[in-house]
C-alpha cells in the first residue's frame, strides 16, 4: 500500500478508470498539459493521450453540454469545473439537462457523467471559489452528490462515481487535498455511493457530518472524551442520497444528535438530516438535534474566513449544549 494525499488518490482513481474503460474521458479547463490547477490530472494526458484527457476552451456551460452530448454517444465523462463557485455557469447543463436525461427519455438515455470540482473554505481563495454549494445540488432529483473526507474514501468513491450510470457531483474540499496522507491501496476498490461511515464509535451523542468537518468533528470528539463524553462521528460521504439507515441507527443508540456542516445554515444538508431524524427517530431523542453551521451570509471575504467557518470548539460546545438540555 502507498501513502497518498487526497489529490493523489483522486488522480489514481481517474487513472484506474481511464485504464479500465476506454470510453472514459477526462476534460476541463487546464486539465491537459498543465495537469489541472491543483494537479489532480497530473500526468494523465501524457499517459493516455490528448484524445482521452484534454483541455477545453473556457466555457463551463459548454463543458456541461459536451458531457451531455458525449453521453448520448456512449462516452463516460469525468468533467472538471475548475472551482465549484463556477457551477452557476453550468447549472443548466447539470441540473436542467443531465439530471433529467434518463427521466425525460423515459429511461432510454442516461448521463454517466462525473462532475469533479474543488471547493471549501480555509484556504483564502478569491470570491466564488470556496462556497459550499452542495445543498443546491442535493435539491436536484436525478443527481448524486458525493463529498469525500480523506484519501482512502476519495479513491473508492470516485471510482464508484465514474462507474455510476447517472450524473454524480463529486466535490473535493481544497483544504483536504494535501493536508494529510492515508494508506491507499494501489489496486482498485470501490466504496458504494449513498453509504455513510462510522469514523468513531461512541455512546452519548452522534455527530453527523461530511467533508472537512469530519476532521473538525473528530478533534471535537477527542476533547469531549477528556470531559467524559463519548461521541460517535458519522461521515456521510454521500450527501445525496443520504444514508438514513446509518443516521437513525446511531441516533437510536445515543439519543442525541449534532449535525455539522461547513455550509451556511439556511436550507442545506444539515436541515435535511435533522428533518429525517425528526421523521423517524424523534421519540429516541432526549434533546433537540443540534446544528453547527456557518452564518447565513455570502461566503466571507478571505480576511474573515477563520471566524466564519465552524470549528472543533464550536462543535464541542454544541454537543455539550445538546447533552445538557
Amino acid at each position: 500500500m502507498a501513502q497518498m494525499t487526497m489529490i493523489q488518490a483522486i488522480t489514481d482513481a481517474m487513472r484506474n478508470e481511464l485504464k479500465n474503460d476506454e470510453k472514459v474521458l477526462v476534460y476541463g479547463e487546464d486539465v491537459g498539459n498543465n495537469g489541472g490547477v491543483f494537479r489532480a490530472t497530473d500526468g494523465l494526458q501524457k499517459e493516455f493521450g490528448e484524445e482521452r484527457v484534454f483541455d477545453t476552451p473556457l466555457a463551463e456551460s459548454a463543458i456541461g453540454g459536451l458531457a451531455h452530448g458525449l453521453s448520448l454517444t456512449g462516452y463516460r465523462s469525468v468533467m472538471e469545473l475548475q472551482f465549484f463557485g463556477f457551477v452557476f455557469e453550468a447549472f443548466d447543463s447539470i441540473a436542467g439537462q443531465m439530471a433529467r436525461l434518463h427521466y425525460r427519455s423515459g429511461g432510454v438515455y442516461n448521463a454517466p457523467v462525473t462532475i469533479r470540482s474543488p471547493f471549501g473554505g480555509g484556504v483564502k481563495t478569491p470570491e466564488m471559489h470556496a462556497d459550499s454549494l452542495e445543498g443546491l445540488m442535493a435539491q436536484t432529483p436525478g443527481l448524486k452528490v458525493v463529498i469525500p473526507s480523506n484519501p482512502y474514501d476519495a479513491k473508492g468513491l470516485l471510482i464508484s462515481a465514474i462507474r455510476d450510470n447517472d450524473p454524480v457531483v463529486f466535490l473535493e474540499h481544497m483544504k483536504l487535498y494535501r493536508s494529510f496522507r492515508d494508506e491507499v491501496p494501489e489496486e482498485e476498490y470501490t466504496i458504494p455511493l449513498g453509504k455513510a461511515d462510522v469514523k468513531r464509535e461512541g455512546t452519548d451523542v452522534s455527530i453527523i457530518t461530511y467533508g472537512a468537518m469530519v476532521q473538525a468533528s473528530l478533534k471535537a470528539a477527542e476533547q469531549l472524551e477528556k470531559d467524559g463524553i463519548s461521541a460517535e462521528v458519522i461521515d456521510l460521504r454521500t450527501v445525496s442520497p443520504l444514508d438514513i439507515e446509518a443516521i437513525i441507527e446511531s441516533v437510536e443508540k445515543t439519543n442525541h444528535a449534532v449535525v455539522v456542516q461547513e455550509a451556511q445554515k439556511q436550507a442545506g444538508i444539515a436541515a435535511n438530516v435533522v428533518a429525517e431524524i425528526n421523521d423517524r427517530a424523534i421519540l429516541s431523542l432526549e434533546a433537540p438535534v443540534g446544528r453547527v453551521t456557518a452564518a447565513d451570509t455570502i461566503f466571507p471575504f478571505a480576511a474573515a474566513e477563520d471566524t466564519w467557518l465552524p470549528n472543533d470548539k464550536d462543535i464541542a460546545a454544541k454537543v455539550k449544549e445538546t447533552l445538557n438540555f
Binding site: 498543465n34 478569491p126 452564518a295 451570509t297 466571507p300 471575504f301 478571505a302 480576511a303 474573515a304 466564519w308
Partner: protein, 363 residues
C-alpha cells in the same frame, strides 16, 4: 480544418493596427492621436508606475501581505492606454487582472490592496467613481456591460461602458451574448479582449478555430478591430475611436489587444514553465510597451532617466503608504458581513447569528 475561401476572406480583414513599432518608430502617421506632450508623458508615467506597483505587489504577496494577485507586467499599454482614452464619467467593468484601470479611474490604492486581501472595504467604491468590482466569474462582466450601457443610453448621457476580458474569456457564451445585446440595442459599449495568448495554461489557439478574436464582432453585427496591445498609442487611438462611436450612437465595438503577461497567471501556484517556452517569453519582451514608448519619448526629448527615477520613487512611496493604510483598517468581522448581506431589514436568522458571532469574536 480546411477553411473555405469565403471564410478566409472574412478572417483576413482583421489585421493588427499599430502606430509605434517595436523600435519606437511611428509607422502609421495618419493614425497618430492628438495628444499633448503632457499627456504623452502622463501615459508613460502611468506605465512606469504600474510596472513598479506590479513588482511590489508580487513581493508583498510572497511575504503573505497582499492576498490574491494577478500580475500585469507586459499588459501596461493595453490597460493604461485604453483607460486613458476614457472620460471620468464612463463606466469600467473590469476582470480580476484589471486593477490599474480602476485605480486610474478613481479607486484608491489602499482599497485595491484591501480587495486583494479579501476585505469588504476594498469593494466600497467611492461615490462618483464609476466602476464595477474586479470580476472573478469570467464573462459575467460582459453581459453586465450591456446593462450599464443601456442605463447610460436611457439617461441620455454621452458616456460609454467599457469592459475587459481575456482570450479565454472570449470563449464564454456571455462574451457573445453581451456583444449581441449591445448590438441589438445599439448601445454605447466597448468590449476589450486583452489577448495575452494564454488562459492560465491553455494557449489561445486551443480556444477557438477563429483566426482572430476581433472577427467575433462580425457575428454580433458590430465593429471589431485587432490592435497591437504593446503599443500604447495604437491602444489609445483605437479606444478613443470606439468611445466616440458609442457616444455618437454609432454602436458598440470589440477591440482585441495583442499582448502578453510576463509573470505567472496569479500568485497562487501557477508555473508558466509548464506551458510556455522561454523563447516565447523573450520574443514578447522584445515588444515591451515601456521600452518602445520610452524610446519614442526620448526621441522627442520628452523623457529622461531622472524623470523616470522620480516616478519609481513616487510609486514606491505611494505603495508603502497605501499598505500602511490597509494595515490600519479595522479587522473585518463576521458581524460586518451580516450587516452587508441585505440592504433592507435584517431577517431573524441573521439577527440570531449576529449574537452568536459577537460572542465568538469577543473570545
Amino acid at each position: 480544418m480546411k477553411k473555405t475561401k469565403e471564410l478566409q476572406k472574412v478572417e483576413d480583414q482583421f489585421e493588427m493596427f499599430q502606430i509605434l513599432d517595436e523600435k519606437g518608430k511611428v509607422v502609421n502617421k495618419d493614425a497618430m492621436p492628438e495628444l499633448s506632450d503632457e499627456e504623452l508623458k502622463e501615459m508613460m508615467t502611468r506605465m512606469v508606475y504600474t510596472r513598479i506597483w506590479d513588482q511590489r505587489a508580487i513581493s508583498l504577496n510572497r511575504q503573505g501581505r497582499l492576498g490574491f494577485y494577478a500580475p500585469v507586467a507586459g499588459q501596461e499599454a493595453s490597460m493604461i492606454g485604453s483607460q486613458f482614452a476614457l472620460d471620468e464619467k464612463d463606466w469600467i467593468l473590469p476582470g480580476y487582472r484589471d486593477i490599474p484601470q480602476i485605480y486610474y479611474h478613481g479607486l484608491p490604492l489602499h482599497q485595491a490592496f484591501l480587495w486583494s486581501r479579501g476585505h469588504f472595504k476594498g469593494g466600497q467604491v467611492p461615490e462618483g467613481v464609476r466602476i464595477m468590482l474586479p470580476q472573478i466569474i469570467i464573462g459575467a462582466q460582459i453581459t453586465q456591460t450591456a446593462g450599464v450601457a443601456m442605463g447610460l443610453q436611457k439617461d441620455g448621457e454621452k458616456q460609454i461602458a467599457i469592459t475587459y476580458t481575456g482570450d479565454g474569456g472570449a470563449s464564454q457564451g456571455d462574451f457573445y451574448e453581451g456583444m449581441n445585446f449591445a448590438g441589438a440595442y445599439n448601445l454605447p459599449a466597448v468590449f476589450i479582449v486583452q489577448n495575452n495568448r494564454f488562459a492560465i495554461s491553455v494557449p489561445v489557439e486551443k480556444q477557438s478555430a477563429a483566426k482572430t478574436i476581433a472577427q467575433k464582432a462580425v457575428a454580433a453585427g458590430i465593429h471589431g478591430e485587432q490592435v497591437d496591445g504593446m503599443d500604447i498609442l495604437a491602444v489609445y487611438a483605437a479606444t478613443q475611436k470606439a468611445r466616440e462611436r458609442g457616444v455618437e450612437g454609432e454602436g458598440p465595438t470589440l477591440l482585441e489587444f495583442l499582448t502578453y503577461r510576463y509573470g505567472p497567471h496569479t500568485m497562487a501556484g501557477d508555473d508558466p514553465t509548464r506551458y510556455r517556452t522561454s523563447e516565447e517569453d523573450d520574443e514578447w519582451e522584445k515588444k515591451d510597451p515601456l521600452v518602445r514608448f520610452r524610446k519614442f519619448l526620448e526621441d522627442k526629448k520628452l523623457w529622461s532617466e531622472d524623470e523616470e527615477e522620480k516616478i519609481v520613487e513616487q510609486a514606491k512611496e505611494d505603495i508603502k503608504a497605501a499598505i500602511k493604510e490597509a494595515d490600519g483598517t479595522a479587522k473585518q468581522k463576521v458581524t460586518d458581513l451580516i450587516d452587508i448581506t441585505f440592504s433592507d431589514e435584517e431577517p431573524t436568522n441573521l439577527q440570531e447569528q449576529r449574537e452568536y458571532y459577537e460572542k465568538k469574536e469577543s473570545k
